[in-house]
Symmetry: C2
Subunit: 215 residues, 2 copies
DNA sequence: ACAAAAGTGTTGTCCTTACACCCATGT
DNA sequence: ACATGGGTGTAAGGACAACACTTTTGT
């Protein structure tokens, strides 16, 4: 039989944790400062070694809570991206890295641990490459993957916030009218009759959108 | 520091090996018969344990050559699909499974090891679920991922073959005219002036398409 | 009144699907 | 001749982008 001699690579889970800050109107990426030996003091994606028998999503939550100080129930959704397998990506030895995304509820988590998506500093290991490779996948998920979108924007949000998030992920700001029609075609997403307060600088009060209780 | 105590799950690589048979006009999935203990004698996807420091694509080639008897240079392309992490998916203990696709050049590989994509028998482990989950991803790759498409169809192919492959992967056969326009928009794919022989039953000789030497 | 920003309606451009018709081959 | 099946042209529908114009707020 296949001798189960343990000569596999180790498996780590590295998380692209995204959070929308409605005040600053930007999407932030969670960045951890490494406490230990390889690249100690440098910035990196929050990551953990996958425990034996541990689910990937559980490891991702463990990374985000442990390395970013986020409450466990603030992690609203998790999903897979790509697996990176360059054997030399970790100086300690060959380590597989499963990249996951996680969305974190907007709330008070101040500190230097979150940086705008388009101002990510150089990161340890191959994490800069991971971010670069995964960014287009995140963009494609917006408005197509309801779990991702709802996780990022919350159960209720305004058109203005939807515009901000779309701009942060795609790089340019859509016309409000066109984004509204896009959202009309997202299953489970409905316009409400309510309007939110206008922005500090004025302008028309934006519509409030809501996810359907469930079909 | 993070003690590198090896308590990770093992990592296996399971391959959805695809081959186009131009004579039978179907796309085949490579199926292995298990020689060893768990599920011995049952059918399963070709898979191997990932070696320490081994690249995923190398492991995939090893699985296809070792378990399906395919020559190494007949593997024309390899790519990632999804990683499966149910801890109980392997009775020997928690094992991560990275699902990969691989395309195999059309040639003489007779035997019961290849089955049409829509006649896949029940498989060992969670491999039936893997096939079911990955099938839509394979469909999306056709005509979008040039490596996948070229790997499956080869450097030169006819419209008739393109129709067969598309039907096998998507479930219905497009109109030849529409598929031609789709292929016109695939970067690197060009119509040639040549026509191939008509089918045995007659009909107009189909156009020959070719991939660009490279840009 | 003015600026700012969301909402409405309209238009044009793709891409996709569909189908009527023509063309080249085998029997 | 006729069936088979690819190739050509054309047209309807939806998705998407762009923009003129209107509405509702803050200053």
């Amino acid at each position: 039989m296949d001798t189960p001699r343990v000569e596999s690579s180790l498996v780590s889970v590295d998380v692209l944790a995204l959070r929308f800050d409605p005040d600053a109107r930007v999407v932030l990426l969670g960045i951890a400062t490494r406490a230990h030996d390889p690249f100690a003091g440098a910035r990196a994606l929050p990551g953990v070694l996958l425990g034996r028998g541990e689910r990937l999503r559980d490891a991702a939550v463990r990374a985000v809570t442990g390395k970013l100080g986020v409450a466990g129930d603030a992690v609203t959704a998790v999903g897979q991206l790509i697996t990176f397998d360059e054997p030399s990506r970790d100086p300690r030895g060959p380590t597989l890295s499963v990249a996951l995304w996680a969305t974190v509820a907007s709330g008070r988590h101040e500190g230097p641990r979150w940086v705008p998506l388009d101002q990510v500093p150089p990161l340890a290991f191959d994490h800069s490459r991971i971010v670069a490779d995964c960014r287009p996948l995140l963009r494609d998920r917006l408005w197509r993957d309801p779990a991702f979108t709802a996780g990022l924007l919350g159960p209720e949000f305004t058109t203005a916030q939807a515009l901000d998030v779309t701009e942060a992920l795609t790089g340019d700001r859509p016309y409000p009218a066109n984004l509204g029609r896009t959202m009309d075609r997202v299953p489970g997403l409905k316009r409400t009759a309510r309007h939110a307060a206008a922005l500090p600088k004025g302008g028309r009060p934006p519509l409030v959108w809501r996810w359907d209780p469930t079909p």
